[in-house]
Structures are given as C-alpha cells and as structure tokens.
C-alpha cells in the first residue's frame, strides 16, 4: 500500500497485512468450497477487495479472521449460482492429493462431502475452531454446526475407515 494509516488500533487490520497473513486461509477455504483452483483465485481477490471496504471497523485479530472467513463463504455462494460456475467441470475424482500410495486420500474424500459438511470439517479440523466459534463466525446455530460435523464424520468414516474421527 502506498499509504499506511498510522492509527494504533488499525494497523493489525490493514488490508495488505491481512492479505499477507491470511491469503492462504482464504484460498484454502475457497478451494474446499469450490473444488476449483481458478474459482479459488477469483474468490481470493474478491474477498480482499471486499475486505478493504470494512477493514477500518475491525476490533481485533479474531475479528479480522472471522470477517475474512465470512466474506469467503458469502463469495463462494454468489459464485456458485453464477452461470459461469455452472459451466465448469467437477473436480476429477481420480486425482490423488498424495504422493504416497499408503496414505489415504483424505482430501479427496473430504471434498466429496456436501458443501456444508465439508466447510464445517475444514474449519474444525484444519483451522482449529471450536463448534461455538464456527457458529459465531458463520452466524448459525451451534447445534447446526454440530450436526454438520457429525454427519460429515460419519460419511468420512465409511470411506476412510479411520478410527479417530
């Protein structure tokens, strides 16, 4: 950024800094939701451009993170309904995300889950949010989050045969 606004409580939320810190987070969430690299890149840009309109209101680091996740989820909804998205092909299910044949293809299986389940699984297992935090971020009921998580786990247990889910 050419200009930084030098007010104390705004620095941490500054768009360029947020981008550096959270680009991966946003991108990975976008990828889990759209299963598509090119859409994920578009969403990455869109999220931060939208963030630039609200960054001055951020109260804390967590607030920044939550805001970015919320925007990402909203972006992927609008993308999903656009005609363009409908034309893109679904991810090739034969693609392996792991080099090792012994490693289970965990990511592929997660991506096969329905959108809401895999979103919950991703935020819980990868981002490390609690059920309540996820509820707060997505502005949904904690029991809804619990349902999504448990149903997602059930489906994964069948395909992955993992005990620690």
């Amino acid at each position: 950024m050419k200009r930084t606004v030098e007010t104390e409580n705004c620095n941490f939320a500054h768009p360029q800094r947020a981008f550096e810190t959270y680009a991966d987070l946003v991108y990975r969430l976008a990828f889990v939701r759209t299963k598509n690299i090119s859409d994920s890149e578009d969403i990455l840009q869109e999220v931060f451009l939208r963030y630039m309109k609200v960054w001055e209101n951020m109260q804390s680091e967590n607030h920044v993170k939550a805001m970015l996740i919320r925007i990402t989820v909203n972006c992927s909804y609008s993308l999903k309904t656009s005609a363009w998205f409908k034309k893109t092909e679904p991810l090739d299910e034969n693609i392996a995300y792991t080099d090792s044949p012994n490693e289970s293809n965990v990511l592929t299986e997660v991506l096969k889950l329905p959108l809401k389940y895999r979103t919950a699984v991703h935020l819980y297992y990868y981002q490390g949010f609690s059920v309540n935090e996820i509820a707060e971020i997505l502005k949904i009921n904690p029991s809804t989050v619990k349902t999504h998580l448990s149903r997602g786990r059930e489906m994964l247990r069948k395909t992955l045969k993992e005990e620690d889910l």
Partner: protein
C-alpha cells in the same frame, strides 16, 4: 497418522503461487490509489475525445478520501483530466509501485539463429517510389525479396539484395559480408559487428543505406542498436551513425525511408530515482536526441503488471535522425505493421490479449487506441488491418482444474475465435468457440477473406468471410490430416500451406509437407495437391516466414530443413504445375547457421553463415561457391 494430521498435510500443499499473490496485492494497491490520484496521459491528437473514452474505462473517476494525502494533481477537475499532462513525477510514481518482473533481459532467445521468432522478415528490395514489396515474396524486378506480410512494408532479415550486391549477416561470425552477385560472385567487403556483448539479428537495405540491428548487453541492461551504413560504394561501406534505444530488440519495419524499431525495456524499480527520469523511462540515443524520452511520449497502458515498456521509435534511415517516439508501460511480443498503423499485442495471463494501436506516418508515431481480444495470438499473421478494421484470430485457453501444484492434473480447454475491431479497437464482430480442443496453427488474411488452420489431429482449414465487419462468418472448412504452419497466397485462387504431416489416429507429427489449396470458391476449399518432403521433419520455414522463398513470379517455393536426428540437411525447391514438382534438392552440411535461398536474374543463390553458392536457375547445377572471409 490421524485424520487430522493427514488432512492438514494435504491441505497445507494447497497454496496460491507468488504470481497470483503479486497480482492481487497490486490490484489492492490500485483500488487504494483510486481514492487518491489522477493518472491521465496527455493526448495531442485530434481524436483526444475518443481516447478519453478508452482511458475512462481503465481508470476510474477518483474519489478523494480524507484520510489520505491528496496528490499534486488532485486539484484538477475530472473534465480537464484527459488533457492533463503527465509529468516525470507521475510516471515515477506509477512505475515505482509495480513489482519487478525479471530484471535481467531474458528475452535473448534464438539470437544466434537470425530466424528469431520475433520475426523481422529479411528482404532486400530497392523500394522504389511506386511502391514496394508484394506480400508473397516481393518479386519486384528480376530478383527475389524477403517474404513479408504486407505490401509496402519491409521486414528485416539476415540477407538483403538489390539485385547487384548481396548483404548477408552472419550471426555466428559477427560479420556482414558484401558480395557482388553473378555467376562468379565476388566478396567485396566485410563489416565487422562491434561489441563483445552485441548480438546482431538482421538488416534492411534501402537505396544506399544498410541498417544492421542488434542488441547490446551490459551488466544490467540491454540496448537495441541500429547501425546505419552508407553503401553507395559497396566495397567501402561507411558507418554514418548509430541509433539506439533501451531494451531488447523485438521487431522493426521499414516503410519508404522511415524505420520503426520496437524494443521491450524492463526497469529495475530498485534503481529508480525520482529526480533522474533516465532511471525510469526509456532512453533514446540518436543524433541530437540523447537521453530520457519526453514525459508526454510515455503512456501508462490499460494493463501493466510489470515495470516493462514497449518502446517504439521512428527514425529516418537516410541520416539516422529521430522522427518520433512512443513508449507504453506494458511489454509486447507480437507486432503487426501496415502502411498506416502499428499494432502491438501482449498476452496477459488468463488468456486475454491487450492490443495497442499506433498510427504511423512518415516516421511519426501516435498512440491511438487500446483494446483487447480473448485468447492468444499465434504470430503477426494473426493480425490484419483492412478498410479501417482490425481483425484477429486467436486461440482461447480456459483452465478447468488447476496446475499450480504438481499433484494436480491440469485440464486446459481450448477453442478458437476471430474478432473484428474498429479503429478505436472496440469489438464490432466476432466468431467464437471454433474448433474446440484445437489451436490455431496458421492464419492468412486476404482482403475480405481470412483463412486459418487449427489442429489437434486433423487440420481444418477454415475460410471466413469478413465482408461485413459486424458479421464475420465461417463459410467453409476443409479437414485434412497434418497441419499448415504458414499460409501463402499463390496467385489465381491458390493458397500454399507449409506444415507437417500427422497421423490421423494418433496425431503424431511426421514429415514437412507442402499443400496447395484451391480457394477460388471459399465455401468449397479443396486441397489440389500435397507433397511430403521425405525424411525432413524440421525446417526453419516452420517458424519463420522469412526463411521461406515464395515466388509466384518464378513459381518457386524453397526452404532448408533436416531430419529429426539432425541429419540429412537439404535445401529443397518446388514448383507448382497442376501439382507439386520438385525442382531441386541440394545437400548442405550441418551447423551452417542461417540459410536463405533467393534468385537474381538467372541464378539461384543459397547463403549460409559461411558461404554463398550459385546455381543455374533452370538446371540447379552448381556454378560456383564462395566462402565468406
């Protein structure tokens, strides 16, 4: 490993690449800047009003936000903005915010083989007052000239002749040999190419002037240099002057006695100093003009991701004086030139091409319009100007799944398109989604018609009718195995294709082949004949139109090639008489540099980096061989 660990491990590999990040970061900066700055280039042309419209699309009306410092120009009203002069300080600010691309000049590709893909065509012709080179080999008088794209517009090449003397440039030996033509040719002079780090590409000949181009490299920069010689006495060439401009040589054209030189120049933003414009705008060194380009000759392109300029300079070949210059922030790799316009094209990532149009007139260059087309251009032949309209044939790439990570398979879908743009480079007509899963291999525009070849396994030759610019139509397509890389009009409803054979089932490419198409009825194009050159899988004629001799006057097609294992080097010559007739097959050795064939009078010449051979034009018997000294 637990699910959580496995998932984390795999998810961690999902990242964007640095390029995307830079792009987004830059986009964010731009959004930020829209709140604070005005960027408007100056236009001296009468069509400034139109230009404003084009520019307005690219630069939003700025809003001044209280929390940010106002720029110096913020006092000017928006209505005045299109006429605002941009000064060095504005240029500095704009360039400074761009991230460096590579700093070292890396585009020195194919420099040793003068047949660079960047492509100047080399033809030597005496451009007389009543017009010039014909587009299919430029047979003016009794000698053949370089194969060029547009009549009246000469392109540079490694060999030039005026029918009396032959000027051949040996990149390997860094010399230009001057030889008197004839049954017993005689070398009369040699011009050494100076500079340890200088690489020469090609030349022009015009009346008594010889221009030799090259790029000179220094530790951190490159300069395109044009050496101008007086050759009124061929055995005593005199260097008159040197015109140079920052950047790598990209392309050039000669129209009459005016030379247009295009280079690509990258800036290292770390070296920029606001007070020294020469550190952030291109410099030109030509006669009286020595130093940074004037601020008003610099334009910020609609899309400029890196601090790289396209520099175009117009010189007078008689005295090497600078006529005018125009630089645009945004590099270019494909150049098309007609007698009135230069079009530069730069493909952006994501498969769109930004097009810039400059009007040229007697050395003067004026930026007129900017536009874009979907897809990428194959080469200069993918662009054409006709009756004030600009036509383009492109291949459009769409990525379906990603390829940013080796674990993923990338699926790229292609299709092809033809676009017609008006003088302001706004789209007026298009044909899209042609030949899906194929890409364009060759294009030829001929007035109201366009012919182009796409290929995957089978090569359709499409004929498009462009009589109505708003409504271009495909009128015919011919499917044949193999493909053509270049298409040449061959008189009388005939179109010559030079390309390769391919297996219909597997698509595996084979020998070089010639095809003759009957285009007398565009809706019903047929292949009248074809011939494969046995055991020749490669010829420079496949990437460089100037390496091909195409003469409708003498009914000759000639080029040099070799087989896959770099053996069997030959120069082959064909005629067409209801069918292809092989006139000659001349054995050559390997490692001879650039090879060109041409005729003068009743002799046929083959020049390489090392020697000149003379053959009888009828029997193709060797008369004489001269080794260059």
């Amino acid at each position: 490993m637990s699910f959580k660990d496995d998932y984390k491990k795999q998810m961690d590999t999902i990242r964007t690449d640095g390029y995307i990040r830079q792009k987004i970061s830059k986009k964010m900066s731009e959004e930020e800047n829209k709140k604070t700055r005005l960027h408007f280039p100056v236009f001296k042309t009468a069509v400034a009003a139109v230009m404003c419209l084009v520019i307005a699309l690219a630069v939003a009306i700025p809003k001044v936000s209280d929390s940010f410092k106002k720029s110096d120009n913020a006092n000017l009203s928006v209505n005045e903005s299109s006429k605002v002069k941009m000064d060095y300080s504005d240029i500095y600010d704009k360039v400074k915010e761009l991230k460096n691309f590579y700093y070292a000049e890396e585009y020195a590709t194919d420099i040793m083989d003068g047949a660079t893909a960047i492509g100047a065509t080399g033809s030597t012709t005496k451009n007389s007052a009543n017009g010039g080179v014909s587009s299919d080999g430029g047979d003016t008088e009794n000698y053949s000239a370089t194969t060029t794209q547009v009549q009246g517009v000469d392109e540079a090449d490694v060999i030039k002749t005026d029918g009396e003397y032959i000027y051949s440039l040996s990149a390997k030996n860094k010399k230009v040999y001057v030889t008197k033509a004839g049954k017993t040719p005689e070398q009369v002079a040699v011009i050494p190419i100076e500079g340890e780090n200088a690489y020469s590409y090609n030349a022009y000949l015009y009346e008594d002037r010889l221009v030799v181009f090259g790029t000179e490299y220094s530790s951190n920069s490159a300069k395109t240099v044009a050496d101008i010689y007086d050759i009124s006495i061929p055995k005593k060439p005199q260097k008159i002057t040197e015109c140079s401009q920052d950047g790598n040589y990209t392309d050039s054209r000669l129209i009459g006695d005016k030379l247009y030189v295009i280079s690509n120049y990258s800036i290292n933003t770390a070296d920029m100093e606001k007070k020294a414009p020469e550190t952030y705008v291109p410099n030109i060194y030509c006669g009286d003009y020595q130093g940074a380009c004037p601020a008003d000759s610099v334009y910020i392109g609609e899309v400029c991701e890196y601090p790289q300029y396209t520099v175009i300079a117009g010189y007078d070949i008689t005295d090497g004086s600078l006529c005018s210059t125009q630089s645009v922030l945004g590099g270019t790799y494909t150049v098309y030139c007609s007698t009135e316009n230069i079009i530069t094209a730069n493909t952006q990532a994501g498969s769109t091409t930004v097009i810039t149009r400059y009007a040229i007139n007697d050395g003067k260059i004026e930026l007129k319009a900017e536009g874009r087309v979907d897809g990428t251009l194959l080469n200069q032949f993918s662009i054409d100007e006709y009756n004030g309209y600009f036509r383009f044939v492109t291949t459009v790439y769409k990525t379906v799944s990603g390829d940013g990570n080796s674990k993923y398979i990338s699926t790229v879908n292609t299709s092809n398109a033809l676009y017609v743009l008006n003088g302001e480079l706004e789209q007026v007509g298009a044909i899209e989604d042609l030949a899906p899963d194929e890409r364009v291999y060759s294009v030829r525009f001929m007035g109201d018609m366009a012919y182009f070849v796409t290929f995957r396994q089978v090569d359709p030759l499409f004929s498009a009718d462009l009589t109505d610019p708003n409504n271009p139509k495909i009128v015919g397509s011919l499917k044949i195995p193999g493909f053509s890389e270049y298409l040449y009009p061959f008189g009388d409803g005939k179109l010559l294709g030079l390309g390769r054979e391919a297996d219909e089932q597997t698509g595996k490419t084979g020998d070089v082949k010639l095809s003759m198409f009957d285009i007398s009825d565009p809706a019903n194009v047929t292949e009248s004949d074809k011939t494969a050159i046995t055991d020749m899988q490669y010829t420079t004629a496949l990437d460089n139109h100037k390496a091909t001799l195409v003469s409708t006057d003498r009914n000759l097609v000639g080029f040099y090639g070799y087989s896959n294992n770099y053996l069997n080097h030959r120069y082959v010559i064909y005629s067409y008489d209801g069918g292809f007739v092989k006139k000659a097959e001349i054995e050559l050795s390997a490692n001879i540099g650039n090879v060109r064939g041409f005729y003068i009078g009743n002799e046929f010449y083959i020049t390489t980096d090392y020697s000149l051979q003379v053959y009888d034009l009828e029997s193709f018997e060797l008369i004489c061989e001269l080794k260059y000294k």
